[in-house]
């Protein structure tokens, strides 16, 4: 019996439901010697803004128990830089490329979304309204319902590409934001981004991160992420992409059972660059073991 792992997210066809998460896989070439990019469900590239951004001073990450706090500060080469130096490499592969975008103002979100309209080799956009590492803007966009609607609607008006909205990890209102994204025309939602966090060096009494605080990712956040994905999936009809601490196939299957159509693997790639590919294989094994033909037979399969 054939097993079908393929999924479709708002028109983006993926060979399997396991993507690599924004900011953890660079722009593709960094891991190309280690893993076959064509076996990934999709590649979500590091967040792109209209102009180049230098990001935060080091230290930019700190390891905690089962997790990682990062405060990269959204360093990126900007729209033009990515179109010139980043995207051509990825066109050489047969894998959907999803560009993660962000801005400091609604106009910047519009500008960067519009900038990809003519670009060949972009399967879809993921709008980051949820990064904890930018002081002026994005965190607010994800934490204020009116502003959130304005940004999503504005980006929607500027792009015909499949549009994924990446939600802030705000547990108390996750269903509300999920519905708002759907209402404003998003084709899918993804969650969660890293969770605001910090660490202190008790000898020097200084914060361990140059930016003082950052966002926590990795296995430590998985149970929280799972709860939010479950809430979001119950609230909307559009597909949900589950993210947060996924490190093995069992983790990914939990998210699928909670209602996710696909998942993204972030921090786990640092320990095991082949994590996403191995997770996709593991999902296939699970389907076989349970006599299921298609990964959609798992999505939302949680029993009460």
């Amino acid at each position: 019996m054939g097993i079908d792992l393929s999924v479709e997210i708002g028109g983006i066809r993926m060979r399997n439901p396991v993507m690599v998460a924004s900011g953890t896989f660079g722009y593709g070439p960094e891991y190309a010697d280690l893993v076959d990019l064509n076996r990934l469900g999709a590649i979500v590239v590091k967040g792109i803004s209209p102009k180049p951004v230098m990001g935060n001073p080091p230290a930019r990450t700190v390891e905690t128990v089962g997790g990682l706090i990062n405060a990269i500060g959204l360093q990126n080469p900007g729209l033009e830089g990515f179109l010139r130096d980043g995207l051509p490499f990825l066109r050489g592969y047969n894998v959907p490329v999803i560009v993660n975008i962000w801005g400091r103002t609604v106009e910047e979100y519009e500008e960067v979304a519009a900038g990809f309209e003519g670009a060949e080799g972009v399967a879809g956009l993921e709008v980051n309204v949820s990064c904890p590492n930018i002081k002026e803007g994005s965190a607010l966009f994800g934490g204020d319902p009116a502003l959130f609607r304005r940004v999503v609607s504005a980006v929607r008006a500027k792009t015909r590409r499949p549009l994924i909205v990446k939600l802030a990890p705000d547990l108390s209102r996750v269903a509300e934001y999920a519905r708002a994204a759907e209402g404003c025309g998003a084709d899918a939602i993804s969650l969660i981004n890293s969770i605001p966090a910090m660490a202190i060096d008790i000898e020097t009494r200084r914060p361990r991160l140059g930016n003082v605080s950052g966002g926590l990712s990795g296995p430590a956040i998985k149970p929280i992420a799972l709860k939010m994905v479950w809430e979001a999936a119950r609230a909307v009809k559009i597909p949900v992409i589950g993210i947060g601490g996924i490190a093995c196939a069992a983790d990914a299957i939990e998210f699928l059972l909670a209602g996710a159509t696909a998942v993204a693997v972030g921090t786990a790639t640092f320990l095991n660059p082949a994590a996403a590919i191995e997770i996709a294989e593991g999902i296939g094994d699970y389907l076989a073991r349970h006599g299921l033909g298609h990964v959609r037979d798992v999505t939302g399969g949680l029993r009460s």
């Binding site: 280690l34 700190v62 095991n272 660059p273």
Partner: protein, 261 residues
């Protein structure tokens, strides 16, 4: 660059808490150039989400070795790994040292594990020069025999005077540099940031080149996460970030923007 499950062939104490770990890595070992490193996944370190970077001390016959010291949780657990176990490696990583000195006399300067990082270079350089090693105590001065066997005289300084002269490694270096060889010198260094900066300043003052291997905390180790950045002078007079794991860990001293500049 590749990922390889490497079997532990040998794992023994050398001195002062340092251990030597020898791994069978037929894929990675032949590709290693001087100053490159491997990103090692510490086995049984369940709470960790990151690998740990280590300079390659030696690479031959399909095996590579590292010298390391207990510096925290990961290295403490690594110490317990037994021969026969496998360890996942990614490598070789980074650009390493240029294995040439343009006809000048090569001068190696190392503190702590820097001696390990310079060992392959000492073997690969087209001519022998002189090495200066520094440490807190005699326990921190590694591989002197190996360097001498390769034909390098080694001058030593320790902060407590337990080996060589008392003080910082820059003291014997400065003394020696009062009469530099006629053909000039090319410096290669690995060690704590303060030491590297002192070497860089001397190189700039003397008109020499100094190739400095930086130590930065790392996430991915391959250039994807932007954890390990260093400020580097840009051609337009400004600066840019470069990734120590990809464009480094070795930079020429003039490229580096020192933190409080």
């Amino acid at each position: 660059m590749r990922m390889e499950n490497a079997q532990i062939l040998e794992h023994r104490d050398i001195q002062g808490g340092y251990k030597r770990l020898v791994l069978r890595a037929p894929g990675i070992a032949p590709e290693v150039r001087p100053g490159q490193f491997v990103h090692l996944r510490v086995p049984h370190l369940e709470a960790a989400v990151l690998r740990r970077p280590f300079s390659v001390f030696d690479a031959r016959d399909g095996a590579l070795s590292i010298l390391y010291k207990d510096a925290g949780h990961g290295t403490a657990v690594l110490k317990g790994a037994a021969p026969g176990e496998t360890v996942s490696l990614i490598g070789p990583l980074g650009r390493g040292f240029p294995a040439e000195c343009g006809g000048r006399m090569p001068v190696l300067v190392a503190g702590g594990y820097g001696m390990a990082a310079l060992h392959l270079l000492a073997r690969a350089l087209p001519r022998r020069g002189i090495a200066f090693f520094g440490g807190k105590t005699a326990d921190d001065v590694l591989c002197v025999d190996e360097f001498e066997a390769l034909g390098w005289p080694v001058r030593i300084a320790t902060e407590d005077g337990s080996l060589g002269e008392r003080g910082l490694v820059t003291a014997p270096l400065d003394e020696w540099m009062k009469k530099p060889p006629r053909e000039g010198v090319e410096l290669f260094a690995c060690g704590p940031m303060g030491m590297l900066r002192a070497i860089g300043e001397r190189a700039i003052a003397g008109g020499w080149k100094a190739w400095l291997s930086l130590d930065r905390h790392m996430g991915c180790g391959v250039g994807a996460c932007l954890t390990c950045v260093q400020k580097i002078h840009a051609p337009d007079g400004g600066w840019t970030w470069q990734r120590v794991c990809r464009e480094g860990p070795v930079f020429e001293s003039r490229e580096i923007v020192w933190e409080d500049e």
